[in-house]
């Protein structure tokens, strides 16, 4: 039990014992769902079904039901893809990178952040599939042995790298998340009264016995997986950014994209974590575990990454001017002043200006304000991808091909559907999984718990 400086704020509020933590975290799983959950789930499920309908309509009729045209061949599909992948980033960052950096405040939020990662990567993965003209041939992107002779995938294509990056990311995140869940599932198993429930959690907990050897293996696997997942935080969005950076289209062909995309992804991911946890802590009364300290930490990350993104935007403009390439210059001028100026300035306002409020301690510890900003940031990050994708290709080299894009109800419907799908998954998760990594949290109770810190202050270290 190591000592923690009194300068650091407590991470677990109230007079909690180990048993209290267990009870608090197992409660949503063991009790009946509150009315609010049912309402939220119903809405999410309807949205999900609407999305399913629109996807089936697209597959049955053709991509023509979207608003795309001969010039703008990607719009909402890839915007949504990148947006969802970006959101996914926070989970891995929190669970892996912060683990390696021994940031204890991650313990209260990593479970939900990882769940969010997995669920949003599922949404993201949908788009590259359904945006294909012939989805029934989608397996051709896999380098699998085939009967077509020596026909192989094109390893030059960033889209192929995407396939590998996303599938690797999804696999590692899921494994990492699951490993962390094992002791917690075991905790629920041990408490379960309903035999069916007990049996299910028995299977899920892989026979966890809480032995010292189990804990040792658990720690080792977590560390190894954290080591594996850390480069993924950088690689996934780097590779996603290659979709654009390796192209020849002004506004896409930008070497700054990899770091810029990664910062943006962390930015949007934290905002989404913020949105979700502010709701979860309220509904499941977990204010003691996810407290102002956590929220403030995340707001600081949002502020820093938002500023990085802002620097990237300005760098892009500078490089466009400095390059002397007229197509490049026009592409960026057109972003800011062309027909999609409103998208550009929405992006700038949401992503660069709004996080600057977080410099104020008063604002960044204000829950309502935080919630609003977290939504604003995600709107802004959606616009960022839209701006990059659509405003670059709608006016590229030859003015004869310039065009515009406007979504159809199907574009909108599929987007809404993925939001619905995401919340369906998240709400199911919140009712059946321990939403906080209680086993990990218990390790810091004696160092970062409020009453223990107070006790320490009052009585000194002995």
């Amino acid at each position: 039990m190591h000592y923690e400086s009194p300068v650091r704020n407590p991470l677990i509020l109230g007079d909690k014992s180990y048993s209290d933590i267990t009870n608090d975290i197992a409660k949503p799983v063991e009790s009946k769902a509150p009315r609010a959950w049912w309402i939220a789930f119903s809405i999410a499920f309807v949205m999900f079904l609407w999305g399913v309908g629109n996807i089936l309509y697209t597959i049955g009729t053709g991509i023509g039901v979207w608003g795309l045209n001969k010039t703008v061949d990607w719009a909402w599909d890839i915007t949504n893809f990148v947006w969802w992948v970006g959101i996914g980033h926070a989970g891995t960052l929190i669970s892996a990178v912060l683990l390696l950096f021994r940031q204890k405040w991650r313990m209260a939020i990593n479970r939900s952040a990882e769940a969010m990662t997995i669920f949003s990567v599922i949404q993201a993965g949908l788009f590259p599939l359904i945006h294909m003209g012939r989805i029934w041939m989608a397996y051709w992107v896999m380098p699998i042995p085939n009967q077509f002779g020596s026909l192989w995938v094109n390893f030059n294509s960033p889209l192929l790298w995407d396939v590998f990056a996303i599938s690797t990311y999804l696999t590692v995140s899921t494994v990492f998340w699951y490993v962390g869940l094992i002791p917690d599932f075991a905790m629920i198993r041990d408490r379960a009264i309903n035999p069916v429930q007990k049996h299910i959690y028995k299977l899920l907990s892989f026979g966890w016995g809480g032995k010292a050897k189990h804990w040792q293996r658990f720690e080792e696997v977590s560390l190894v997986l954290a080591g594996l997942a850390t480069p993924l935080v950088l690689s996934v969005h780097t590779i996603v950014s290659f979709d654009f950076a390796t192209s020849v289209i002004p506004g896409w062909h930008t070497t700054i994209f990899p770091p810029y995309f990664v910062a943006g992804a962390i930015f949007s991911g934290f905002a989404m974590v913020q949105t979700l946890l502010l709701i979860v802590r309220k509904i499941f009364k977990m204010e003691d575990y996810i407290n102002i300290e956590h929220i403030e930490m995340m707001n600081i990350v949002i502020m820093v990454t938002g500023s990085i993104v802002g620097v990237a935007y300005i760098t892009e403009l500078f490089v466009a001017w400095y390059s002397g390439v007229e197509y490049e210059q026009y592409a960026f001028l057109n972003r800011a002043t062309g027909p999609y100026w409103w998208a550009y300035w929405s992006m700038m306002t949401c992503n660069v200006f709004s996080p600057q409020f977080m410099w104020s301690k008063k604002l960044r510890t204000n829950l309502v304000f935080t919630f609003v900003i977290s939504i604003v940031v995600n709107i802004g990050m959606w616009f960022e991808r839209f701006v990059i994708i659509v405003t670059s290709i709608h006016r590229d080299y030859l003015p004869s091909s310039w065009s515009m894009f406007s979504p159809t109800f199907v574009d909108i419907g599929i987007y809404i559907g993925t939001i619905g799908f995401f919340f369906v998954l998240f709400l199911l998760y919140a009712r059946t999984f321990p939403v906080i990594a209680q086993a990990e949290l218990k390790t810091i109770l004696k160092s970062s718990g409020e009453n223990f810190k107070k006790h320490h202050d009052e009585h000194g270290a002995h």
């Binding site: 009729t61 053709g62 023509g64 001969k70 992107v141 294509s157 709608h394």
Partner: protein, 999 residues
């Protein structure tokens, strides 16, 4: 010693050898008793009685008779004995002629397995051997299910015998035959045999012009033009690259405009921006009603210079007076190289132009060789109208003339006469006729033609009539009581025209030139201007009609290809619209504006001419349009043409008397909005070097490295070109062929023939107005059109304008723009951006410099289309062959229309990308032919569909690894450049700089 083993043939052989032996001898055990079958000694004793025998015989006879009758063939069956000339998979070509009263062309018809599938130019033909967009598209009109399928009497299908009898019953002394221009001698003979009054009237009338030459030479025809003898041409309202006369001048124009000393100088005076005006070196905006004064002004200048009396005429508008003066001065300086062309259907205007040419002794203006493709007479038609009004006409027989559509006066009088209509479909005229006789498409019919002095051409059928139709000459001859077949009539006609060729040679070539046919007409007495009065211009707004490059006079008005082809000038498809100047539009408060999805919308107006109002006519604000003058294309607004054309656009003929082409108009803006199908949203080049354009002095005296600068990159090795600063491994381009294409922007007139030819050759789907509106046109080859802008880098720098304002102003085309056309198809980049990004390798590079597209491998990510700097890749958004949204427009959804598909080219599935293949099917065929013959390919042995269709020779395709090929020479030209070379794509297509003959 061998043992004589016994082998049994079966178990029976061992167990019962006798039976086996017996069975072996009697293979067919149930032998039919011969006696039973034939009867015994007496028939009565046999089992087959005499009655039975007669029954069998009766049945057999009846069965044999029935079997001999024609049975409907439901399924196609293979030949038992293959005709010599027909090999499945190998096309046959037949020479023929295409004439629809507006376009005349000598063509080669490509047939596959007995189906005509492509119209190709007859390059050997002495007159109009080139094909324009309409002639290219006309093959699809053959497979139009809306054509009349049998003769109709009172709206009920009838046999030919009954229908001809019904038609003859309606023919009286007071019957009139109304047709367009007739150039077929055989048809003329049949018409004279018919003995009825014959009125010839054209949908696009040149009547007054023809009258001038008739009064001088005694023959109704129009002068031909030798642009090779001209050094300066001034065209007043004469869109000689479009609808002016029947002579196709594309090739001659391109040849005369070859950059260099003696390049033809072209000045166009016109109201609306035409193809000719777009290509001109200088363009003067004048109203149609000012043409006469402009011509009089030029004439007076020339008269003054040559010492002839001037004529009295109103003064030319001040704004254009000095430009017109300059044009006149240039003509005078050109001397016999001068050529003044008039496009106005007015005796005065034509006389002034002809007289000016006469005064200048123009060598380019041939009044000795006349062409006859437009010889209708307005006065004869007006006389007919008054006779009908007076009740002096009983029956009108229309011969391929939709007179109730283009003449509102006649439509109003239709009830006063009995109508007999010889037409290809139940159009606006035939649907009201008592008797309608179906006319064969030209690809099903025999015909002949004298389109111009000295040329006799024949048209032969290339397929049996699809429906129960007959050729014009056969029907008219039949009405006149004759019973000869069409081929006999044509043969007879050919023999009387004293041609030098044998019948077979004539059919093979499609034409014959013979001096016997040439009649030298001298303009004597020379043109007399004493009776000429020059009319004053219309104050306020004038309305005029014109023809579009796709629609022409409207004979293909149910053909989706002509609708889908974007207008070369406005880049709008599936519409006609009131072309209006920006100043007039501002005054009226009408606008054009883009929707959020890029689709263009506009306001509409009500336009009133001579008391007739056309409501909700969409307005298109047209740069280059003369203020105070609005134009509307004819051929649209059809009611009874078929599912494709019905209800598309408005009928411009409704506003004008049949014989006039312009009138004063009143226009009121309405609240109604109209959606356009615009394929091009931005109209200027935004200061980029996309079409490289220079003036002639720069070309002659400038440094090519300056006016055709190769983009370079600053590197540590010094400045390098995009070809040198290269990150990639190069493909091997030395071995074997390397296909390249040169596109001469100086020769390209923007006519659109290549676009239609490409669609035909490559089964490019038609997607209809709504999809084109959404910028989802599927054309593999497009012709970009750019206007100049009043704003450019130099102006911005001079006036100190910032970048944002500069670019905003650059987007606005000039009110008097210079216009350039640029055909763009897949550039077949040798470092193709599309090839690297496809995850499944569906698009790959060939060793011959082509960018291949494997449709079967494509999964439709569209990444390639995004990464294409030229935006030439097209995605199959829907299943165009089955989706019901396209039932009305896509020929591939029609049992007849499907027959036009080229069997050599895959019809692409939903969800895959497609693009120009440089007609790989033709390349493969050519290579295989050469391989079979064991020889090297020769240059020009085959070419792409676009290059073949290009009447001006702007597109040249070939192998640059063949040092003697034309394209390899063109690649060395100083004018050659690659589009967007700085992107480093190393295209196989290159362009030739456009040169304008101006200082």
């Amino acid at each position: 010693m061998t043992e004589n083993n016994k082998y049994w043939r079966g178990i029976e052989d061992q167990s019962n050898p006798e039976l086996a032996e017996k069975l072996a001898q009697n293979e067919f055990s149930n032998e039919i008793s011969q006696a039973d079958f034939l009867g015994k000694d007496e028939l009565a004793e046999g089992e087959t009685s005499r009655r039975d025998f007669l029954k069998f015989m009766g049945f057999s006879t009846a069965a044999a008779t029935l079997a001999a009758c024609e049975a409907p063939i439901v399924e196609s069956i293979p030949y038992v004995v293959k005709p010599d000339s027909l090999t499945p998979g190998v096309p046959n070509y037949y020479a023929s002629v295409s004439y629809d009263g507006f376009d005349f062309a000598s063509v080669l018809v490509k047939t596959r397995e007995g189906r005509p599938i492509k119209i190709e130019p007859n390059n050997d033909a002495p007159f109009n051997g080139a094909t324009n967009a309409r002639v290219q598209a006309s093959v699809l009109s053959l497979y139009d299910g809306a054509r009349m399928q049998s003769p109709m009497v009172d709206g009920v299908a009838a046999s030919w015998g009954d229908a001809m009898a019904a038609a003859r019953a309606l023919m009286t002394e007071n019957s009139v035959l109304v047709s367009g221009s007739v150039i077929s001698p055989a048809l003329k003979t049949a018409i004279s045999k018919l003995g009825l009054r014959h009125v010839s009237v054209d949908a696009v009338s040149q009547s007054a012009r023809v009258d001038v030459y008739e009064s001088l030479t005694g023959r109704r025809g129009l002068p031909t033009v030798s642009l090779d003898k001209a050094s300066t041409v001034v065209a007043v309202g004469a869109d000689f690259l479009g609808d002016w006369g029947g002579e196709n001048l594309m090739g001659a124009y391109a040849a005369a405009r070859k950059p260099g000393e003696g390049m033809l100088r072209h000045i166009q005076v016109e109201a609306g921006l035409s193809l000719s005006g777009s290509n001109a070196d200088a363009r003067i905006k004048a109203k149609v009603s000012e043409y006469e004064t402009v011509l009089a002004h030029i004439y007076n200048k020339v008269a003054a210079a040559t010492g002839v009396d001037k004529i009295a005429a109103p003064a030319v508008r001040e704004e254009i007076a000095s430009s017109v003066d300059n044009a006149a001065m240039e003509l005078i300086q050109a001397g016999s190289g001068a050529l003044l062309l008039n496009g106005l259907n007015s005796v005065t205007a034509e006389k002034l132009a002809a007289k000016t040419n006469e005064l200048l002794a123009s060598a380019a203006f041939n009044t000795s060789t006349l062409e006859y493709t437009s010889t209708g007479s307005d006065s004869a038609f007006n006389a007919l109208l008054s006779d009908v009004k007076a009740g002096a006409v009983d029956t009108i027989i229309t011969l391929d003339s939709n007179v109730l559509y283009f003449s509102t006066e006649m439509a109003a009088l239709a009830d006063k006469v009995n109508l007999v209509s010889i037409a290809d479909r139940a159009d606006e005229t035939a649907s009201k006729a008592k008797v309608a006789l179906p006319l064969s498409h030209y690809l099903e019919a025999w015909t002949d033609a004298i389109p111009v002095d000295g040329v006799y051409a024949v048209g032969q059928p290339t397929i049996s009539p699809l429906f129960d139709s007959k050729s014009a000459v056969e029907i008219v001859n039949g009405l006149a009581g004759g019973s000869e077949s069409a081929v006999d009539l044509i043969k007879a006609s050919a023999s009387t025209t004293a041609i030098a060729k044998t019948w077979n040679a004539l059919l093979h070539d499609g034409f014959s030139t013979t001096p016997v046919l040439v009649v030298n007409y001298e303009l004597s007495p020379s043109i007399n201007l004493s009776d000429v009065t020059v009319g004053a211009a219309i104050e306020g707004i004038e309305f005029y009609t014109y023809t579009k490059a796709g629609m022409g006079a409207g004979s293909n008005a149910n053909n989706p290809w002509v609708y889908e082809l974007p207008d070369p000038i406005s880049r709008l498809s599936w519409d006609n619209y009131l072309a209006m100047s920006a100043a007039d539009a501002v005054a009226l408060g009408v606008e054009n504006y883009a929707q959020s999805n890029g689709a263009m919308n506009g306001n509409t107006v009500n336009i009133t001419v001579n008391g007739t109002t056309l409501e909700n006519v969409p307005v298109w604000i047209q740069p280059g349009q003369t203020q105070g003058s609005v134009g509307l294309a004819i051929g649209f607004g059809r009611e009874s043409v078929g599912k494709v054309g019905n209800g598309v656009g408005v009928n411009a003929n409704a506003l004008l008397a049949t014989t006039s082409t312009y009138a004063s108009a009143e226009i009121v803006a309405t609240e109604v909005e109209h959606g356009f199908a615009s394929v091009q949203l931005a109209h200027t080049m935004m200061g980029r070097k996309i079409v490289n354009e220079i003036n002639l002095p720069t070309f002659l005296h400038g440094n090519a490295a300056e006016w055709n600068e190769t983009p370079t990159f600053e590197t540590h090795k010094g400045p390098l070109t995009a070809f040198e600063a290269n990150l990639w491994d190069d493909h091997d381009h030395e071995t074997s062929h390397m296909w390249n294409m040169s596109i001469d922007l100086n020769s390209c007139t923007g006519c659109g023939a290549c676009v239609v030819a490409c669609s035909l050759e490559n089964n490019v789907p038609v997607v209809g107005k709504d999809e084109v509106r959404r910028h989802r046109d599927m054309h593999w080859l497009r012709i970009d059109r750019y206007y100049s802008s009043d704003m450019n880098e130099a102006v911005a720098e001079e006036e100190g304008i910032g970048a944002i304002e500069k670019y905003a102003k650059m987007e606005v085309p000039s009110e008097s723009p210079s216009v350039v056309f640029q055909p763009v198809m897949c550039q077949h980049c040798n470092h193709a951006p599309c090839e690297t990004v496809c995850p499944v390798g569906a698009t790959a590079h060939s060793r011959e410099g082509l960018n291949h597209m494997a449709y079967n491998r494509c999964i439709g990510t569209r990444y390639c289309a995004n990464n294409c700097p030229y935006k030439v890749r097209r995605f199959n958004w829907f299943n165009y062959q089955a989706n019901e949204k396209f039932t009305d427009v896509n020929p591939a959804q029609d049992d007849y229309g499907r027959m036009v598909l080229n069997p050599d080219v895959t019809v692409r599935a939903r969800g895959v990308i497609e693009k120009c293949s440089l007609c790989i099917q033709r390349i493969q065929l050519g290579k295989l032919e050469a391989k079979k013959d064991g020889r090297m390919l020769t240059d020009g042995e085959f070419t792409t569909a676009c290059a073949q269709a290009c009447g001006s020779g702007a597109i040249v395709f070939g192998d640059v690894n063949n040092p003697s090929s034309e394209v390899s020479h063109l690649k060395q030209e100083a004018r050659a450049y690659h589009l967007l070379e700085e992107v480093g794509t190393q295209p196989s297509i290159f362009y030739q700089t456009k040169v304008r003959n101006r200082a």
